[in-house]
Point group: C2
């Protein structure tokens, strides 16, 4: 199994992406803290965290009997660089910004169409 395969396989599961979302909002959480946000068993969460750690998407540090989890953005950036050329990057990000702006408008609670 190649390194990049581990990364993409890790990202292939919705629960693991949710864990990354949690860590993106706030780093340095423990296993128990993360488990509280999910409906799954603790061991289920632990297995997911291990997959993320083996992929390098999450970095951990022991602190006493606790294990703190941190999001590592580097693999994500490497995905980006693999299929987005430096010369077209600006155009793509502009396009994405426009898209998300439009969509967020669509999602806004509309005052109502009287």
């Amino acid at each position: 199994m190649f390194d990049d395969d581990r990364v993409f396989k890790a990202l292939g599961d919705a629960t693991r992406r949710f864990l990354l979302d949690l860590l993106f909002k706030r780093d340095g959480r423990t296993l128990s803290e993360l488990e509280a946000e999910l409906t799954m068993t603790r061991f289920g969460v632990m297995k997911h965290l291990r997959v993320l750690e083996n992929a390098g998407l999450v970095i951990t540090r022991r602190a006493g009997r606790e294990k703190l989890h941190f999001l590592n953005p580097v693999p994500v950036r490497l995905i980006h660089d693999r299929w987005i050329d430096k010369y077209t990057e600006r155009q793509v990000s502009t396009l994405v910004d426009m898209k998300t702006t439009l969509e967020s408008k669509k999602w806004m609670p509309v005052k109502k169409r009287a």
Copy 2:
């Protein structure tokens, strides 16, 4: 199934990533052209291309009896934006550049499956 799930599931397979690599090098290829680069059956390749198309990672255009395939970078950029903050983006990309320079090797295209 959510949109982002389709994207990540699509990226979870090495053959499909290899197809994206091929299209990244040169756009607008036909099914047969892509099949020639793989050891798999034509139908196998077709199924993979359909997964990529449903995920929005590949866009197609019919031209007579041929179907041309193009790489769409937008979903890739959205992955990036999900876990890389605009304020830390510069640091991360600098770090990645240093890393790739030092290693002097980027990710190799995945080899054909045995």
